[in-house]
Amino acid sequence: MKPSLFGYHAPKTLAEAGAILAQDADATVLAGGQSLLPAMNFRVAAPSALVDIQHVEGLKGISIKDGAIAVRAMTRHREFELDEQVRQANPLVAEVMQHVAHVPIRNRGTVVGSLCHADPSAEMPLLLTLLGGSVIAQGPNGAREIAAEDFFTSFLTTARKSDELVIEARFPLLPAGAGWAFDEVTRRHGDFALVGVGCIVTLDAQGKVQTIQLAACGIADRPVRLTEAEAMLKGSTLTPDLDAAANASLSAVVAPDDMHASASYRRRALKALITRMVTKAASRVRPGAPS
């Protein structure tokens, strides 16, 4: 239960950090350590070197610009959760955040670290996917923006190259007047989700769905947008079509049976959560309100 040996670097600048990552493909970024250190203590992970980015300048803080919340790499979960500006700009964040682990873990773990870890049942990757956000990866040839749908490629795997550092994540704001909801099914509060569902919806003056975003985690090797259900619900008055839309989403469950839940249990949880989250999000719509 102790990590195997590794080299340790604590760079102060992005350039230094990048140089170490470029030299050694097994060197691993250390952010909050709340996923990496358990894996190292179990010796499931044995990186040749750690690049501790806590002292790298310019990687702290949250700002709201260009219709999105920009979260720098060393921003801890708890800062994102409690930030008053974030609460105003996108109340969905705080609702999701309460489900991520426990406060002492959220005090250390980072939002970007969670995205890079890419656990298919984790909440942050789901939130980024649901909102249609992106990350900024900084490599030897400069920075590139990677959309959520391209970033999460498989179980614990992202499109990040080994010489890239993710320096920022961008979570879009909610559309004007939108209603939102997130909930998950877990064995215990604070565990990873067996299934989690988030929904963002806007309604027109007649109460018909103008836009809808629906996504789930825990059902595949990455978070998924439930596009078929979205298409079925768009333009509808919700209630009559919700059951059919939820049923149409069940084929998105491709996670195999595991020790936590069977696939059929996950399908039932997914259906229940879709129904509840769409209904809850619609009940929170504020027509005509600014975002």
Binding site: K2, L5, A10, G33, P38, D52, L82, P104, N107, H189
Partner: protein, 175 residues
Amino acid sequence: MKRMIKPSIPEHSDDPRVTIALTVNGETVSRTVSVRMLLSDFLRHELGLTGTHVGCEHGVCGCCTVHIDGKAGRSCLTLAVQANGADIRTIESVANGDGTLHPVQQAFKECHALQCGFCTPGMVMNIVNRFEEPGPLDLTDNGIRDMLSGNLCRCTGYINIIAAVRRAAELMGRA
């Protein structure tokens, strides 16, 4: 008979070592440690502060909770080298200098919120920090359960710990 009892501590280690300096319970300490030493082991083995307990070493039990730069965190999921320059507080600093207990400790005692006591240092460090955070506290049963959700106790069944958190809030004028 073959001697079976013998120390298993290696006489020397080839681990790369780093000199770190940090503040622990208000005192500046500097030590040269292996890069892979966990903060929990640093506190216990290098500094003899054995009040920080080690249960699981993967972040689940919460026994090793200390304050890192003013925030409760897992010392088993933090490397000693990551704490270079940091301000660490452990359970040893919680009671007053004259031995009188902190209100959270007092409440645990009054409410019989510990049995074997193994989980208690982590529980206390977590709860003390929540009382230090600005903003309102949810002292409903569910709110307190959420506060305690990152700390496991194998003895008490939690009921008395929930009562102790509520009592601590009373003692601190936060109820």
